[in-house]
Symmetry: C2
């Protein structure tokens, strides 16, 4: 199927918000999503953006029955490894279910890799849920490795009241 990948613009935030919600349903964490279209607009498309995005789009004749032509996206930002240097982090990679198996996810991820290499990054990092076997298999087939499984790194987080307490001098 024909599709194109392009940089996300402000006007894509409505569709990104829609697909982010779909992804959270797939990952069974809908109750944790607090982000809105307006947040995405402010955080990704003002000066010093917190993230960048790319969009996968299909021609009008392949639009979904709801009328969507923006059918996949990836968000990314630049990060850093104090051992290896410049890195790019892929925060989300999503393709709507009816458009899977057509190489669109691979093309989105490939674009993130290209953008990272162009910026001098030597690593592409991301996370995957351990029960999401099809995603894990896809990533492993692309030559990615499981840093948690192989080296023992655990993702840690501080938020809510704990973060407020921690921030108290």
């Amino acid at each position: 199927m024909e599709f194109s990948i392009r940089a996300a613009v402000l006007e894509d935030c409505k569709d990104i918000a829609r697909m982010t919600k779909e992804l959270s349903e797939y990952e069974k964490v809908t109750d944790q999503v607090t982000i809105t279209q307006k947040d995405l607009e402010q955080d990704g498309f003002s000066k010093n953006p917190f993230f960048h995005g790319i969009i996968a789009e299909v021609p009008e004749q392949h639009r979904t029955k709801e009328g969507h032509v923006k059918i996949g996206y990836a968000l990314y930002f630049y990060s850093y490894s104090s051992w290896k240097g410049r890195a790019i982090y892929m925060e989300d990679l999503y393709v709507m279910p009816e458009f899977r198996g057509k190489g669109i996810g691979k093309a989105l991820m490939s674009k993130v890799a290209q953008l990272g290499m162009a910026a001098g990054c030597t690593q592409l990092n991301f996370t995957v849920l351990d029960w999401n076997k099809s995603s894990m298999d896809f990533y492993l087939s692309q030559g990615c490795f499981d840093v948690t499984g192989d080296m023992g790194y655990h993702c840690m987080r501080c938020d809510g009241e704990a973060l407020e307490r921690l921030a108290q001098p």
Copy 2:
């Protein structure tokens, strides 16, 4: 013990590189460190830096026998959660062994939390090695939680030849 926390400047890169190497020895991955002082200078202190840093410093009278007064650091950058929004990522937190147990690591981490909250972040994220029980216990005591253990997220990476292959259109 008296100490101060301040933003890192270009001239700190020599000491950051030294401590990054010490940290990698502690984490038993010295062979994986390719970063140099010059990389840190370029990547952290030019336009659009890939990371920011803070330094813990002690007065001259407490300098180490090698003459160091910069005895701890944290690196951080801003990141994004497509569900929760703005986040701050702490890439490294290190205090030289002879200065541990004095609240310096806590003060560095607290500063990163403050900087994150001031920028509108609702999460502080980082990783820890699963065998590093003293660090894990410290983070849990601060109200952090283990996203990998509790929710099943694995850190994934693509680098080297796999990254080059992936980036091919």
